[in-house]
Structure formats: C-alpha cells, structure tokens
Amino acid sequence: MSRVLLVSLLSVLTIFRLISASPDLSELYALRDQTRDAVVLLTDDVLTQYVMGRNRPYAVAIYFSAEQVSEGNPSLRLDDLRKEYGLAAKAFAKGSDSDKIFFFEAALETSQRPFAMMQVNSLPCVIRIPPGLHVSSSTVELGRNDKMVPDTVGTHNYPWPAETFVEFMGVRHGIKAAEIDRPSIYKSPIFPMLLLSGLVSLAYLAYKVYTLSLVQHPALWAVLSLVVFWFSVSGGMYNIIRGVPFFIRDRKGNLQFFLTGRQGQLGAEGFTLGTLYLLVSCSIAFITFLAPRISNRILRDTLSLIGTAVAAGSIYQTFMLWTMKTGYRHVLHV
C-alpha cells in the first residue's frame, strides 16, 4: 500500500513538475548560441518545450516565413525583413536583458503548427507572446499590440528596420537591447586602406586615360554633349521628378505614347521630340562640315540630299507633333 502511495506520489510530483516547472533556460541559451543570428528555428520540439505552457519567464518573438512566399513575391522583400529581424535579435541577445526575450523563426517548411496556432495566414507577420500568456495547443488569441503586421505597424518604412523590431518587441515592455550592430563595410578595419588604394588606383587610371589623348578627342565630347542636350530638352528631368511612365495603355489596352493637352507628358513623347531635334541638328552639321569634304561627287550629292530631306522632314514632324500636343499653330499677328 505504502509502495503504491509512494509511486503515485512520485508520479504526481513528476507530472506536477512537468506542468509547472519553467523550461530549462540553459538549453535555450545553448540553442540560441548555436544559431547564426540569435534566432532559433521553431521546430515542434522547441515549440512544445519553450513556447507552450501556462507561462514563461521570458517573452517570445516569432517571425513567420515561407519559402514559397518569399520566392514568389520578391516585392514583399521578406529576406530584407528577415535580416533586420536577425539584427534586432542579436541586439537583444547582447543586451543586459538577454534572458527576457527570445527570438524564433517559424518556417512553414519545418512545421506548420505555429501557423495554425497563431492563425497566421498572410505574410509578413511577426508576433510577440508576452510571458504571462497561456499557450496551449489550441489557437492563441493575441492582442493587436503583439502582432507586427502591416495594419498595426504601417508600411511607410517597410521593410521595417531592426529599430522598429527593437521598439516593438522590447523597449515598450521595458526590455533593454544593446546597440544594433549593422554589418557595414565602413566599420571594417581595412576600409580606410581600401578607400585609399581605390583612390590612388582611380587617380592612376584617370592619369593613364588622360595620357591616351583619346579623352581629349572632341568626338567623344560631342557625343556626350548631345546626350546631355537630348536628355534635358526631352523633359527627362520632368520624367524623373514626377515619375512619369514611358507610355501608358488606354482603355482598350492599346499603347499610348502621346498625351494631348498642355498638362503632363509621357516619357516616350519627350524623347521622341528630343530625337527629332538631334536629327535636325545632326543632318545640318553633316551638310555643313562633312558633306563638302566628300570628294566623290555622286556620293556627296546623294548624301547631302538625304541630309536635307532628313532635316526638313524632322522639322516638319516636330511642328506637327507640337500642334498635335498643344493645338498650337503659327498665327500671323500683323
């Protein structure tokens, strides 16, 4: 009888211990130290051992990821977000409150349980489970303040930088994090040397190119000048500053290159006009400087005729397009 009692007492104790005892933190530390960026992969074991339970002495942050989503939607920039999440995790792991919050990543490929438990069906999603929240195997209701989704955090600074994660996960709950250490080439000790050697080699290269005397050839500069001119008179700056598209589609789905009316322009129409200007100029320059130097008479005559035709045609076309755009006509005011 006493034996039975003892056994049942022991088993009750064991069960009680299993239920009430806090998870073994030292193992979790070890797990965290093994990872690259202090984010522990959330397998089923890890989930039951460190996340589920009536309460925990630490908060839990879970980043949800799915390979197929991040590959299928590069515009979501989930990889960038994951990097920032890792930076935030590292900052907490190094900080003075490293035992108050742990970072996990729930990958759909590893385990689908966390997704079901937290009812996550869209990405990006990062959640925070407060220490006192009871996590059972059924679904868990999280407050709005514990879910980082575009609705709660906003998209103006998406992908959210590590600072946002630190603020959301820790600072507003009184957990301190260390300074976020972004890997950067500027911090590397060899950076000044790299910079210096880069500058010196650049200067040497520039000197070499300069002595080639090719760069002093006017032809090169003529082409460059024409490009600058073409870009500017086409309203290229307008396109950049206003972010206008090159062309649009009208209601029927046809490509539309020209906006009629004085307001607005499309990229294509400006560059068309710029090209026409250059055609006029180049043919005139050809007739002025090159054609008279061709000694073959037939060739000279043909080419100069072609040049004239191109110049006249381009001028005519320019004025036609101008009229089409603004309705402008040359009116005699006499």
Partner: protein
C-alpha cells in the same frame, strides 16, 4: 539704402531691405532716373522702371553679339543678336513693365561672359578689370550669379584638361575669383555666403588648380626632364599628405551642415528631387517646376533644334571661346531641365549656339552657290584644328571624283573627313581664315571643300529663310499672346471677338486701400504680398520675398487650421483683414484652393501638428467634395473660399454648389463663420476679403455649438 528697414511688410518682424534683396535692379533704375534728371529730362520714375527691362534686353542683344563675335564671326554674332532680341523666353522678362531682377540680370550674365571670353582672347588686363566690374554688377543683380561662379571654374578646368592653359586664361580668371569674391562679400544679401557656401568652393578649387598647373608648366620649362621627375615625385608625396589633411577638414566642415553647405536652390539643381522632398517653399513655386518638352519649343522655338548643331560646330573648330560656348550651353540646358525658371539662362546660350550653326551652314551654302559650276569643286584654305586631324584620311582618299573610291563617312556627327590637298583643283574659294587657327596647322592640314549640289543649297537656303520667318512669327505671337497682358488683369475671349475683362484683383486692392484703416494688417498667402503692399498700401504679414520660412508657415498653419484656431493665430499677429483668392465661380484655376496643399506642406514643415494626409482622401486624392476629409472641410481656407458659395452659384450658374475649377459640387454647402465676417467680395468672387472679428460671435459657445456638433454627428 543698406539699412532701410521696412516695417510695412512681414509684420511684426519687418524686413531689412538691404539684406534681403539684390540691389542691382533698384540701383540701375535709380541711377537712370538721376542721370536723366541731371540732364533735365523730366521723366517720371515709374516710366523709368517700366522701360528699364526693354532697355536692358537691347543691351543683352549687344552683349550676345559681342560674345558670338569673339567666339566665331561677326555674322554669327549678328544672327545671335537677332535671335536673342525676340526669343520668347527672354521676352517674358523684358517686356515693358516687367520690373524684375531677371530683366537686368540676363544682360549682366551675358555681359560677364562676353568680357570673360574677350579677356581670354586678348589677355588684356584692362578687359579683366571690366570683367570684374561686370561680375560685380551681376552679383548685385541676381542670385543666378552662382551659375557664373561655377561655370567659369568649370571652363577653367576644362581648359587645363584639354591642354589649353595659357596666361590669358589666368588674366581672365584669377582676378575674377579674388576680386569678384571680395565684391560679392560686400553686398549684404550675399555677404559671407560668398566664402562659406559650398557653391563657391569650386571657384577656389579651380583657382588653386590653375596656379598649380601654371607653376608646374613653368618649372617643367626651367628644369631638365630628369630633375623634373625627381622634383615631381617629391612634391607629389608632400602634396598628397597635405591634400588628404585639407580634404578631411573640408569634408568635416561640409558634413556638419545638413544640406552639406549648399543652399536649398542649389541642392535642387544637383539633386532634382531634393526640393520636392525637403523644401516645400521652393518646390511650391511654379517657376521651380521641371519643364516639359513643350515648354522648350514654346520658349525657344526652332533654336532648340539648331543648338545641338551649334555644339557640334563649336567642337568641330574648337577654340577657347567656342569651348566656352559649348560649356555654357550644356550647363544651362541641364539646369533648365531641373527648373523652368532657368530657361532664362538657357535662352542666350541656345541663341548663340544656333547662330553659330546657322551662320556656318549659310556660309557653306552660299560658298557653294557662289562658285557653283558643274563638275567643279571649290576648295579652301580653311583648316581644322589639331583635333580634327584625328579622323583625317579616313574618308575620301582621292581628290578626283572617282565612283566608288570614296567610302562614306560613318556617323554624320563627328568624324571629320579631310581630303589631301592637291594643286589641280581649279576653283578655290578662300574662306575667311580664323584668327585662332595657327599657320602651321593651316599649312599641313589644309582640307578641301567641294561645292554642294545646287538643289541642296537652294532648298536649304529656302528652309533657313522659312524657319527664320516662322521664328519671327512665333515670337511675335508669343509676346502678343502670352506676355503682353498684365497678369493682374485677366481677360478671356468672347464669342463676338471682344474680350471679357476680369479686374477683380485691382477692385479688391482698391477696396482695401479706401475702406480700411491705414495701419490695418492684411493677411493672405505670400503670392499676393507684393501686390497688397503696392496696390492696397497696407501692411502685410508675408510677401514674395520668402526670406523667413517659419513666418510663412504660420500663415499656412492658420489657413489649414480650424476657424477658432486660425482666429487665435491671426489675432496674435494683429491681423485685421484676411483675403483669399477664389476661382470656383468663374473657373480661374490658380486660386488658393489649388495652392492649398502647399500651404499645408509649408505649414507642416514647421508645425508638425499639420499633417498632409489629414487633408487628403484615404486614396491620397486632394478633393473638396463630399469625399474630402473633415479636416479639409473644416479648414479656414475652405470656409473662407466657399462661404455663401452655394447660393451664389445657384443664382449665377444654376448649379448649386458646383465649383467650376474643380468641376464637382463642394462637400459642405452650409458654411458658417463665427470668427470672421465677410466684408467684401469682388465682382466675380475672385477675391474675398474677411474681417477678423474682435471677439467671436456669442452663440457658438453655447447652443449653436452643440447643435452644430450634433448636426455634424448626424451628417
């Protein structure tokens, strides 16, 4: 003049006129007036002001003639003067009655360039003195002087790069930097900006580089090659060490300021998206918008098609002066792409370049026609510079016309084909030998020019005449249509051929002048500040001299706030009258409702409580109809604009509450004012003047307020 303090603007701050305006224009008009009166020519000062701009546009034509004469030939110069005399872009600032800085500044700009090129060509110290004086005048006249102080160093560096460094360049450039900077420092509005702002650092840098380059060439001449190499390596080591030190100091200084030491307008030029992100007060001005392609052809007409040919022509026969023209054209065309206002700077440049292109073309055509005889060609002694020799011999290798012997030149743009000179060519026309062409090059690389076919010449000449004619027609049209009417009186054509005149602005300003106390303060958006000061003769809060952003932001904040809050702001500024410009009844699009977002942005830039999204629909549209946000429909601007509008629009157009600019019914028809009272509305409702009540109407505090709230809730 320098310490003239104007207490009638920018109340309660006032404005130090000497420190906030470029005094060139005022000095010019004043001196003309004084001189005329000294000779007992009794002319009113207003007439002097009206005629200053046309007079200086005439001077500008002369300066352009001089510039192109120096760079190319007198013929091209005449053509340039002709172009610049009527180019529409410049006419906008040079019509009689336009009393604006640009009126004299464009002349001053071209004048500086003329004297600079003249000094570079002549190397005379007297010219350099005139150059410095004209630069001083330019600095006095316009903030655009920073264009010069960056273009000239650029030219200087380009000269060194192309190996065109000589003493004449030094005579032209060095005194300009040294004395010119001293002169700019002594003009209060520029002051120490001339040495502290990064815009001017380029000039100092070029100044140093010029000295170093001259020193190096001097030392190289004095020493043997071996000694020179040793010396060079020694000096280089020291220089790199010193240079790194100086560079780090400069970088540290520059990095300290948020804009890296550049003024806002210059930042806009370097980074075109800068203003739209950070400086709403610059971005809000319509002149600071980037131009579309149609602006170019409207403002420059066919010059924009000819200018690239001018660039090619200048590069084809590269001289010091033509290199300058190319650089001027390129920098100006880039900057004009960022800001439509700088089209003014571009206009003289394209005039000069087009003149060079056209004059070269006409010269070739006329030369061909003059000696046109079948089967004969004309050759000249004109040479190409050393540069053009690069492509020599690639094209025509035989002088006699043989079928198939000549390969066609590649790109028509730049490859220069030089035929070897043969003595058996019969008719040779001696082209005018340019002074810059060295005799040596002329002897060695004389190229031959053959006559073009008569048909081509005749067609092209006719074409040139036609486009010149079209240019004149267009310029007259532009000046008659766009720039001949005063901007304060609007007109719209009537069906019977007459004009319907909208004289609301003057009507309202006259009302203010006659019906308000002379000491009354009038608030409006800053666009109307100068007009209010001049035409209504009342003290204004802000005006077009936007020297103090936070004061403008205060007015923007008041306009964007609710009525009660705006009332408190205006009371704190002692404002008695507020007016808004409203176009909704007659369809005048540049009214305050359309400018309102800028007020919000400028106000929000200083007072974070004003947030732009509050005034936009959730989709990000700016609307004042039923979909407009509550903040928008409660803002003072909305209320002042649409007060009693529903009834009036019902009467005049038959459509209740339909705004004719926006083209939809407004959001809130029943606008009540408790803190302001309407005192005057002009004939077409384009200007509405309100008085700021001494104390708000009594009822909003008690019953009406609650009722109003309840009604809002129900709505």
């Amino acid at each position: 003049m320098w310490n003239w303090f104007d207490d009638r603007t920018w109340y309660p701050l006032g404005r130090v006129i000497g420190g906030t305006v470029y005094p060139g224009l005022i000095f010019t008009a004043g001196s003309i007036y004084r001189i005329l009166h000294f000779f007992h020519i009794p002319i009113h000062v207003q007439e002097v002001c009206v005629l200053t701009a046309p007079l200086f546009s005439a001077f500008c034509a002369l300066a352009c003639y001089g510039l192109v004469s120096q760079a190319r030939s007198h013929g091209a110069g005449l053509l340039a003067a002709f172009f610049v005399a009527i180019v529409p872009s410049y006419i906008s600032r040079s019509v009689a009655g336009s009393f604006d800085n640009e009126g004299v500044a464009i002349f001053a700009l071209v004048n500086v360039f003329y004297w600079f090129v003249k000094t570079v060509n002549s190397g005379s110290l007297a010219d350099a003195v005139v150059l410095v004086a004209s630069y001083g005048y330019m600095v006095m006249s316009w903030g655009g002087y920073s264009f010069i102080i960056n273009l000239l160093p650029l030219y200087c560096l380009a000269c060194i790069f192309f190996g065109r460094l000589n003493g004449r360049l030094y005579v032209a450039f060095a005194p300009l930097v040294a004395l010119g900077t001293a002169i700019s420092c002594s003009i209060p509005v520029v002051g120490f900006n001339a040495v502290l702002m990064s815009e001017h650092f380029g000039a100092f840098f070029a100044f140093i580089v010029l000295h170093v380059a001259l020193l190096v060439s001097y030392v190289r001449r004095m020493l043997s090659t071996k000694h020179f190499v040793i010396l060079a390596s020694m000096v280089l080591t020291v220089a790199i060490a010193l240079g790194a030190l100086v560079a780090s100091v400069v970088v540290a200084y520059v990095a300290k300021s948020p804009t890296l030491g550049w003024t806002g307008r210059s930042m806009t030029l370097l980074d075109p998206t800068y203003a739209s992100r950070f400086v709403p007060i610059i971005a809000s001005v319509s002149e600071h918008q980037p131009p579309q392609w149609s602006s170019y052809i409207m403002d420059l007409h066919m010059l924009v098609m000819l200018a690239p040919a001018g660039i090619l022509a200048c590069l084809h026969r590269l001289t010091d002066a033509s290199l300058f023209l190319v650089l001027y054209g390129l920098t100006a065309v880039y900057f004009s792409g960022v800001m439509i206002r700088l089209m003014l700077v571009l206009a003289p440049a394209v005039c000069c370049l087009s003149a060079v292109a056209l004059s070269d073309l006409v010269y070739v055509l006329c030369g061909s026609m003059r000696c046109w005889k079948p089967r004969f060609a004309f050759s000249t002694a004109t040479t190409s510079d050393k540069a053009s020799g690069e492509g020599g011999g690639e094209g025509a290798s035989k002088a006699s016309p043989a079928p198939g012997a000549a390969s066609s030149p590649g790109a028509p743009s730049t490859k220069d084909v030089v035929a070897p000179s043969t003595p058996d060519e019969p008719t040779s026309v001696k082209k005018k030998t340019r002074s810059k062409v060295s005799a040596k090059a002329a002897a060695s690389e004389a190229s031959k020019l053959y006559a073009l076919p008569f048909l081509v010449c005749a067609t092209l000449l006719a074409m040139v005449l036609v486009i010149l004619g079209l240019y004149v027609v267009h310029c007259i049209h532009a000046s008659a249509d766009m720039y001949s009417s005063p901007s304060i009186v609007l007109q719209s054509p009537r069906r019977d051929g007459g004009y319907y005149v909208f004289d609301d602005f003057r009507e309202a300003y006259a009302w203010l002048r006659h019906n308000t106390h002379p000491d009354a303060k009038v608030a409006s958006w800053w666009d109307y500040g100068y007009q209010t000061t001049a035409m209504a003769n009342r003290t204004v809060i802000v005006d077009n001299n936007t020297w103090n952003t936070s004061h403008i932001a205060t007015v923007g904040r008041a306009m964007s706030s609710s009525e009660a809050k705006a009332w408190a702001i205006y009371r704190s500024l002692d404002v008695e009258y507020v007016f808004v410009v409203f176009g909704g009844l007659v369809g005048y699009p540049s009214d305050d409702i359309n400018k309102f977002l800028w007020m919000v942005r400028i106000g929000g830039g200083v007072y974070p409580e004003i947030k732009e999204p509050d005034y936009l629909t959730p989709e990000g549209d700016y609307r004042v109809d039923a979909r407009g946000t509550k903040t928008m429909l409660n803002s003072l601007m909305y209320k002042l604009s649409y007060y009693d509008f529903a009834e009036e629009s019902q009467l005049s157009t038959g459509q209740r509450g339909v705004d004719r600019v926006r083209g939809y019914p407004i959001g809130k028809l029943n606008v009540k004012l408790n803190y302001f009272e309407e005192v005057f509305t002009s004939q077409h409702w384009m200007m509405r003047i309100y008085r700021v009540r001494d104390r708000p109407l009594r009822d909003p505090t008690s019953r009406t307020g609650k009722k109003g709230k309840a009604a809002n809730r129900r709505g």
